[in-house]
Amino acid sequence: MHSVVFGRYETELPETKEHLTLSIAPAAFPLRWSLCSLSANFMADYVGSVFRNVNGFETQLDQLKHTVSYVANELVENAFKYHHDFTTGITITISKHRANFFLLVSNSVDAQRLPDFYTFLEVLTNRDPTELYAERLEQALLEDMENDGASQKKSGLGFITMMMIYDVTLGWRFDTNEPHSQVMLTTMAQIPIAKELFQNGN
C-alpha cells in the first residue's frame, strides 16, 4: 500500500481513551442526503457532551458545536458525492487530543480521478484562502453562465470556508491498495477548542 498526503495530516495521533466512530455501509441501504445533517448534528451533540461544566462559557461551546456541525456536514457531503466503491463504507470518527478535536472522514475514490484531485489539492494547499475564495466564486459564476446554470467542477469553497471562517486545519491522505488499485481517501479536520472551555475541570 502507498500513501499520498496533502495539507496537514497528523500521522502520530496518540492513543485516545475516548473517540466516537460512525460507520455507514452503503451496501446495506441507499445513501440518503439527510444522513449528512443527521451525522453532523450527532457529532456536534457528542462534542457538547464532552464538556461537563461550561458555566459562563456557553457561547464558546455553541461556537465549537457549530464548527463541528459545519465541518462534519461538509466532509460527509463530499464523502457521499465522491464515494466510488459501494462494497466499502464511509467512516466518520471524532476524537479529542489536547486543544483540538480531530474529525476524520474516510471514503473510497475513483482511481481515474486521482490526477484531478491531486491538482485541486495542490492549489488549495498552496494559495492564500481569501484570494482563492474570490477567484473560485468568479470562476464558478463564469462556468454557470457557460453551462446554463450548472457548474460541474468542485469549487473547494467548503474547504476554503472551513479554513477562513472556522480556523480549521485540513489534511488529506490517499491510500492505494495494489494490485486492486482501490483508493481510500481520509480527510482530516483539526478543530481548535477555545481555551475557556478547559476551565472548571474540563
Binding site: 454557470d144 446554470g149 450548472a150 471562517i165 472556522y166
Partner: protein
C-alpha cells in the same frame, strides 16, 4: 412569494423589497438551490432602489448555500441602481466572518449586524 420546507423558509415581501431567510440551508448542490436563486433574482428584477436580505434567522448554511449567496451578491455588482442591504446576527456563529466576506465581494453592500 414564499418557499417553505421543514428545514427553512424564504419569504419575499414585494412591497418592502425584503427577502427573509430562516432555518437551515443544507441542500444538495447548487441545483437544489435554484428555487431560492430564482426568488432572489425575481426580487432583484423588480429593480427596487433598495433590496434587503434578512439572514438573522438563518442558523446554518452549507457550502453550496454560501456559493449561491456569494454568486447572487456578485451578480448584484452589475446592478448599480439597487442598494443591497444584508442584515445578520452576531448571535449566529458563522455569520460575522462569512457576511464580512460577502461585503468584500461587493464593497457597496451595506451590512447591518445586530447583537
Amino acid at each position: 412569494m414564499e418557499i417553505k420546507t421543514s428545514d427553512y423558509t424564504v419569504k419575499f415581501d414585494e412591497a418592502n423589497a425584503l427577502v427573509t431567510c430562516a432555518g437551515s440551508f443544507r441542500l444538495n448542490g447548487v441545483d437544489e438551490y435554484s428555487p431560492i436563486v430564482n426568488l432572489l433574482q425575481s426580487a432583484a428584477d423588480q429593480s427596487p432602489a433598495q433590496l434587503t436580505l434578512d439572514l438573522r434567522g438563518l442558523e446554518f448554511l452549507n457550502s453550496s448555500g454560501i456559493n449561491v449567496l456569494s454568486k447572487f451578491v456578485i451578480s448584484m455588482r452589475q446592478r448599480a441602481n439597487i442598494q443591497l442591504i444584508v442584515k445578520g446576527s452576531k448571535r449566529i456563529p458563522w455569520q460575522t466572518k462569512s457576511l464580512l466576506n460577502l461585503q468584500r465581494l461587493m464593497p457597496a453592500l451595506q451590512l447591518d449586524m445586530e447583537d
